[in-house]
């Protein structure tokens, strides 16, 4: 596999695992409703299959993340580890009928811009540290 293909498929895998984990977590929360902050509530959450799907997603994301970190600078990897925001925004429309307001989309754009700045900064800092 070319480095470029490895890079892209790594990012995509991370995005998919993270999005999957969050979607399953939301399904767990829905399944556990109503939110009563007691043992029965927690038990309802822990007895739905969704919570274990979510843990599987987190584990997959973790393994992907550690594999990516071995091969690419921490900056892009850091950005990639937060790209699930995009995945979640896309799939929550058809899955949960969620609609964000215009102001909220603007906020999401700012957050992604911030992540981009941090990722770029990490890359240049890491380059400086190399002898």
């Amino acid at each position: 596999m070319s480095p470029r293909a490895f890079f892209l498929s790594g990012f995509l895998a991370l995005l998919l695992f993270d999005t999957f984990a969050q979607v399953c977590f939301k399904l767990t929360a829905i399944h556990a409703a109503p939110l009563t902050f007691d043992w029965p509530w927690l038990l309802r959450a822990l007895t739905t299959p969704w919570v274990y799907c979510s843990i599987f997603g987190y584990l997959g994301a973790f393994v992907t993340w550690m594999t990516l970190l071995r091969h690419i600078p921490v900056g892009p990897a850091f950005a990639a580890s937060h790209l699930e925001v995009i995945g979640v925004m896309v799939v929550s429309v058809p899955l949960f009928g969620e609609v964000l307001s215009g102001v909220q989309y603007l906020g999401a754009a700012l957050i992604l811009g911030g992540v981009f700045f941090l990722a770029r900064d990490e890359t240049s800092e890491a380059a400086k540290e190399k002898p």
Binding site: Q22, E98, L100, L112, V115, F117, R120
Partner: protein, 121 residues
Amino acid sequence: MTNATLIFLLWAVNLVTDTCGQLAFKKAAIENTKARGWAHWRHMLGRPWIYLGALAYVAEFIAWLAFLSTVPLAVGVLLGMAGIVAVMLGGRLWFGERFTRGRLAGVSLILAGVALVGAGG
């Protein structure tokens, strides 16, 4: 308690538990780094930080479950991005990590974005 207050409280608990967890694991990882492999793990297991980190993550699991019960998923994940800022702030206070210009710009954008998502519902 109004719904908005509950959402804000749950968001704050998530932020605190996430940050405590990350900082505790960082502290565990950087203590006695001369030890390698198994010796490093034995050292980490003999210190409180790794357990504190795990405890914080368990608390965060419950807090995140409660938080997602009160807000749409996309909104929850977007508001959760404030954790990046909290961890960087903690890293500066506890480990003396630097705030470069690029990091300040990134942190400011994320905070502004989180405020817009929170207010614009």
